[in-house]
């Protein structure tokens, strides 16, 4: 299944929103953290894991999803949340720790929950896999539409939960798709130093499920492969595993000096930025005109700016909110 023009333009615009978003969050995060970088300072404290460079994974997969489909993401969730349609203002307010945030400031950037579009993420490696399986199983038992996608990083493919969840999904024939964003690094540890196989798609055979390896960080290629896996899930064909070779343009988290990352790779990575490449293609194909592009960029920038402006303006929660919402 190939992405039609409408889908391609949606993917591009969503990637632009996502990239502008990460740039804006980065700027806000660094406020109050110079000259001395202290994670506790500034309008956004804590760890900040940006997704710049990995946008194609998010859009290529989420282009196939509806709000009833469930998605679980990781500690690096912004691009996926945006592609899944999470309320950008409430999400940003959450990242700023504000009362009107998705969780009233209780969760922060690693814990974004938007039940309206069945999106959530978490900070423990591979933790979202079981819940994705369960969400998809629940829909099947309810005889309702809706499948699930669990996004993880390539480092998570060596965590026990990966194995248990893929096996269970296959044994129970659950409509869940597992998507590995292979950005080649788990913090400072290279994939080759942590993983016994060159690509994790090979591991699908250990669960008798189809495995796909997308070697290019390209929205169209990802869209086509994800389409096949998601169609299988919807039609009762059970789970699939997809690994995508993508790119981490930033450090593991903001503040990571990346001394462990080879010079050459650091220099070349901007050239491998998937967004300019995709724009070039859409321009070449005549899918995207000058005017489309600038209009698109303006819309994207405007969405991001209004979300950040909103988040900044919102009040912080009262301290007593910390004691509520532990139980329903």
């Amino acid at each position: 299944m190939h992405a039609d023009t409408k889908t391609q333009l949606w993917m591009l615009e969503t990637m632009l929103v996502s990239r502008h978003y990460e740039d804006a969050v980065k700027a806000a995060y660094m406020e109050g953290k110079t000259p001395r970088f202290n994670m506790a300072d500034g309008p956004i404290p804590g760890e900040m894991h940006l997704s710049s460079g990995q946008e194609p994974c998010a859009v290529g997969v989420c282009a196939h999803l509806t709000p009833t489909d469930a998605v679980t993401a990781t500690h690096r969730p912004h691009h996926i949340a945006i592609a899944k349609g999470v309320d950008l203002k409430a999400m940003t307010a959450e990242i700023f720790g504000k009362a009107s945030g998705l969780a009233g400031g209780r969760g922060g950037h690693m814990h974004l929950f938007d039940p309206a579009v069945n999106f959530c993420c978490s900070g423990i490696i591979a933790e979202g896999m079981g819940p994705a399986l369960g969400a998809a199983l629940g829909r099947q038992l309810q005889k309702e539409d809706g499948i699930a996608v669990a996004f993880i990083g390539e480092g998570a493919a060596n965590q026990g939960a990966f194995h248990e969840t893929l096996n269970l999904a296959a044994v129970w024939n659950v409509g869940v798709v597992f998507v590995i964003e292979d950005n080649a690094w788990g913090i400072s540890v290279a994939k080759s130093a942590s993983t016994a196989v060159a690509n994790n798609a090979e591991r699908a055979a250990a669960y008798g499920m189809p495995g796909y390896h997308v070697t290019d960080n390209d929205p169209d290629a990802i869209y086509t492969t994800a389409g096949e896996a998601i169609a299988r899930a919807r039609s009762g064909g059970g789970p699939s595993l997809i690994e995508i070779q993508t790119l981490r343009l930033e450090g593991h988290f903001l503040g990571d000096a990346e001394a462990y990352r080879p010079e050459a790779e650091r220099e070349s990575r901007d050239k491998r930025d998937p967004i300019p490449r995709y724009i070039e293609r859409l321009r070449r194909d005549g899918t995207l005109s000058d005017t489309d592009e600038s209009a698109m960029r303006e819309r994207a920038l405007a969405r991001v700016e209004s979300a950040l402006a909103y988040a900044r303006a919102e009040p912080l929660p009262p301290a007593t909110d910390a004691l509520t919402a532990v139980f329903a």
Partner: protein, 345 residues
């Protein structure tokens, strides 16, 4: 089935039967309820608490799992997130180490992380306790381990009536509830059975409030606090003390989270003496917390130092010669009380 829940009859049940009855009743009444775990389908649960469910509700709602606790407990969280009401079994609490993340970081925290928008209505049933020679990886209680971490309710029934009522309440609760059932009370012949745990149970469905302790024996001279298996130790000690004209009040906590601090304070304020009985490891657990609560809340009423009878801080040994002497028993309680009251034996 409607009629079944309408009749007002009662029957004498073991905790195992009471749990299975509660599960069946809720599964009849609510299609969202399903049960998952190891050997809970065809076998009916190693401890009998899912007997008959597979035949009545079929393999979609009564699911044997692979030995993959992280996956199926994580799956339960996902099921709850789309409106199902999963009940999962961790066969022995001793196995928590392979799957605690799904329990304490997911099930217990998603409600908070979502600002209350994504609560996790699920029940985790798990067997606890020793005394039958199953050694250090199959005999622990670990009450303190679960009660210490926020976001989960923790209940521990001491008899079949509470077992059914707490199970129904747990399934209907919008939050994750850890349901810890003690093997010595389960009523499986092969584990021996504490007689006091087998009681009359209404066939109608009913709930026992989570978070409410019960005074199972009123008294004025000393407060004995137990729960699960140790409740029966407390009752036996109370009888022995009565023979010496010591009138003990016995409190069954029933829930560890939420803890009924008011009930503890009320009783200890009245008696001025308190002994806590816990078959979990002594240090940094339930017994310490109850002593702390008694002291914080009742300092001026205390007539003697609050005392505890708990399992020593050692792995549970296999040999009966090593395990049994150290499990809390009525003698331990009686002598603790007599020391508090300055009565020589």
């Amino acid at each position: 089935m409607e009629t079944a829940t309408k009749t007002a009859t009662t029957e004498r049940l073991t905790i195992a039967r009471a749990m299975a009855t509660a599960l069946a009743g809720e599964m009849r009444a609510d299609p969202r309820v399903l049960v998952m775990g190891e050997d809970i389908a065809a076998l009916g649960g190693v401890f009998g608490n899912t007997q008959g469910l597979l035949d009545e509700f079929g393999p979609d709602r009564v699911r044997d799992t692979p030995i993959s606790e992280t996956a199926f407990i994580g799956a339960a969280v996902g099921l709850a997130s789309v409106g199902m009401r999963p009940v999962v079994e961790l066969m022995f609490v001793d196995f928590f180490g392979v799957c605690m993340d799904a329990i304490y970081n997911l099930a217990a925290k998603n409600c908070y992380f979502s600002g209350g928008k994504a609560p996790v209505p699920m029940v985790l049933m798990t067997s606890v306790g020793g005394g039958y020679g199953d050694a250090g990886q199959h005999s622990q209680c670990l009450y303190g381990t679960f009660a210490h971490l926020p976001g989960m309710k923790v209940v521990v029934p001491s008899n079949a009536y509470d077992a059914k009522g707490l199970m129904v309440a747990a399934i209907r609760d919008p939050n994750p509830v850890i349901y810890m059932y003690h093997k010595a009370l389960q009523g499986m012949g092969w584990l021996g059975t504490e007689k006091g745990s087998v009681v009359d149970v209404p066939s109608d469905s009913y709930t026992v409030d989570i978070g409410k302790a019960a005074i199972v024996r009123p008294g004025n001279d000393v407060t004995l606090i137990g729960f699960g298996n140790t409740l029966h130790t407390a009752l036996k000690a109370a009888e022995r003390l009565a023979a010496d004209n010591i009138d003990a009040e016995v409190l069954d906590l029933r829930s560890l989270v939420p803890l009924d601090r008011d009930a503890i304070a009320a009783s200890v304020t009245k008696t001025g003496h308190v002994v806590v009985i816990d078959d979990d490891y002594q240090s940094y657990g339930v017994s310490g917390e109850i002593l702390a609560v008694a002291t914080e809340r009742c300092f001026s009423s205390l007539k003697s130092a609050p005392a505890r009878v708990a399992f020593p801080d050692v792995p549970i040994p296999f040999s009966p010669a090593l395990e049994r002497p150290w499990l809390p028993n009525p003698d331990h309680v009686v002598s603790a009380v007599k020391q508090q009251l300055g009565v020589s034996r």
